[in-house]
Amino acid sequence: MKTIIHMLVTLSVIGVISGGVLSQLSGWADPLIAEHRQRETEAAIFEVQPEAKKYEKVEDLAFDLYKVTDEEGNELGYALPYEGNGFQGKIRLMVGVTNDLGKVVGLRVLEQVETPGLGTKIVTDPSDKANPEWFPGQFNGVITSPLITVVKNAKPSKDSEIMAITGATISSKAVVDIINSGIKELRSLKGEAN
């Protein structure tokens, strides 16, 4: 009986001390972490919408969506964080589109776990010293109707085409598919709103 009480007391004391320390710490860390998240999202929004000056979250949606405006408050388009399946795991993107959803104006990969050295070229390609971000860069100005398609081993011939990364066709396609389904979602949303 005595040992049982001893055991309970020891573990409880350690647990209480540990909980107290951690709750103090998280009181300090949580706002900082939230701030980092916020800043990251903000940076991504302004990167995919280079002309934007202000943004505003569209409320009452099942997913996140940001409406961006210039200094005078003219609507420029949307920034949409959207995710889907890549080659090995989830890819999370921030896609900037024009107001009529007809054109992509910028793309940034927020999270990915693609194969190092191959699929990770959807973010940067270290082998291309002059333009390491050639793959996401391709999406600037891509026409989204008809939906974006991928071409292999060739330069895109149409405004709605993207050149795939050699050796990482699946990752390239995954990015395009995520953008396409995101745009479809936005279209159906707009259709409902109108």
Binding site: F87, L118, T166, G167, T169, I170
Partner: protein
Amino acid sequence: MTTITANPSYKLEFASSPHVHSRWSTKRAMWMVVIALVPCMISAVLFYGFYQLLIMAVSVLFAVLTEAAVKYFRKREITIGDGSAVITGLLLALIVPPNFSLVFTALGAVVAIGLGKEIFGGLGFNIFNPALVGRAFLQAAFPVQITTWTVPNYAVEGVTSATPLAAFKFDKVGTEVSNMFFGNIGGSLGETSAIAVLIGGLFLVFAGVINYRVPLAMILGMVIFGGLFWLIDGTTFPDPIFQLTAGGFLFGTFFMATDWVSSPVTPKGMWIFGLGISLVLVMIRLFGGLPEGVMYAILFMNGFVPLINRYTRPTIFGEAK
């Protein structure tokens, strides 16, 4: 009373059972394999040019040098004369794409011998086929370069540089069987010409260097498993004849899966081994991310060989069943 005088030149050798007897010395068998590979080498030069001879030379040279170096540093007898390193080098060269970088080829040969064979203790101790280990390393290290297929010299109009398997898998484009039979297609150096592989392979079977069971089991397995899916859905899955002639199947069947060291020794085990390779291969080809998987299928089954040998061991005479 007789006195027994010890003769120092007479050495009594002990080895534990099983005692595997063969009329073949390792050395002789190895050089037979080299002869059997000649048709494949000819087809490689014929379809992709003389540069391919350089790839073979570099691969063989580095394989032999690696073996000699390892043996030297481990202070063991240098055994490059048995020809096994030559074969590993040659086999590796024949399963890389045409016009492959010589630097990568050399690296592959070093890995094949160093990590594929010598690290286990040398010939006879390696679990995996050394040439395939080298190829697997190259595949993981340089995935772009090793899947860049040069168009063959006498390419028919409209034949792209994609291999038939890749063309079928990603674009649903078939390839004419006659082209695949002669080797007028995209693919690795030695694997494209079905007829060249068959000449060499059958020579080995009839000369008694390799056992017929593993190749037969693999071909049967491919017809059964490949045919099954083709019967289920003939449009999404290729027919078994295509599967048999495409990619590295025949080359792997006759030259890789039959490797003495890394394949089972019991007759029943050989059947299991061959059928297993085909089953894994069909799964990779039809449902995997890659168009071809002979290499992975054989390496995968290589890992099972000790287990297969153990479970198919013949009953010892007198032992209760």
